[in-house]
Symmetry: C2
Subunit: 148 residues, 2 copies
């Protein structure tokens, strides 16, 4: 079965985002408050400008000795990040994230972010699919669903 990002892995939701001129400290506070590891950066039109992760805050702010109260997200974000479409396949998305070392990707529809998906979400779906596939194959082998 071909799983799609929406609705099989996640749903459209209110996407948590900050503006390009917001600060690293604000991003850290919201990540903590919302228990998330990445936050989208959107412009005035709501269009996706970039993404900032815990890793960016660690490596591009703290490791550089920058003051997070004075460091804006537009300086540290990954601009124009890779995105997924709602109808993309979960399996291909997982492989993309695994090979390119992304843990989070925004889902974009008609130019606007409608959800964020994590490699953890995709892993859960893929694991249950693989286990289902094994059970189905075993059921066929051992004949509890088909006559011998």
């Amino acid at each position: 079965m071909q799983r799609k990002i929406i609705p099989d892995v996640t749903q459209k939701s209110v996407v948590i985002s900050l503006a390009p001129n917001d600060t690293a400290t604000m991003a850290a506070k919201i990540m903590k408050e919302k228990n998330i590891a990445a936050i989208l950066v959107t412009g005035k039109s709501g269009k996706l400008d970039g993404i900032v992760t815990e890793r960016d805050l660690t490596r591009r702010v703290m490791a550089q000795g920058l003051n997070p109260d004075e460091t804006t997200l537009k300086k540290i974000m990954t601009k124009d990040p890779d995105t997924l479409a709602p109808a993309d396949s979960a399996g291909e998305a997982l492989e993309l994230m695994r090979t390119r070392s992304f843990r989070h990707l925004p889902i974009v529809e008609n130019g606007l972010p409608v959800a964020m998906v994590s490699i953890r979400d995709l892993y859960s779906v893929m694991k249950s699919d693989l286990e289902h596939e094994i059970r189905e194959t075993e059921a066929f082998v051992f004949g509890d669903r088909y006559s011998a």
Copy 2:
């Protein structure tokens, strides 16, 4: 097949660690330099005292408005973290990390850390095992290895 953390998932290695009185800034710099997301904190005897992750630097330092040059790891580390033994099963370790939301766990042997394992490492091993299992079952069903 029952995979073990060592040697099936990772090997013993020089474990990167800092001391309890080292600072958050030092941890961020080393994480960036070594391209790692978590660092062990060890005492004088080399014994494991704690672990500090990018998430801890984000939530326990930056989100709190603390100065990372003056914040010691002993204040922000997770003390006495869960650990794995070299002979622990990879599958159980993956489930433990998934359900408890750990992305990294130290491997401890005779009281001393000998490696660090990430959920990504474990996922790779488990994925290849599951795929292997499916192929084996299919080979049995479709008879390219056993006579009908």
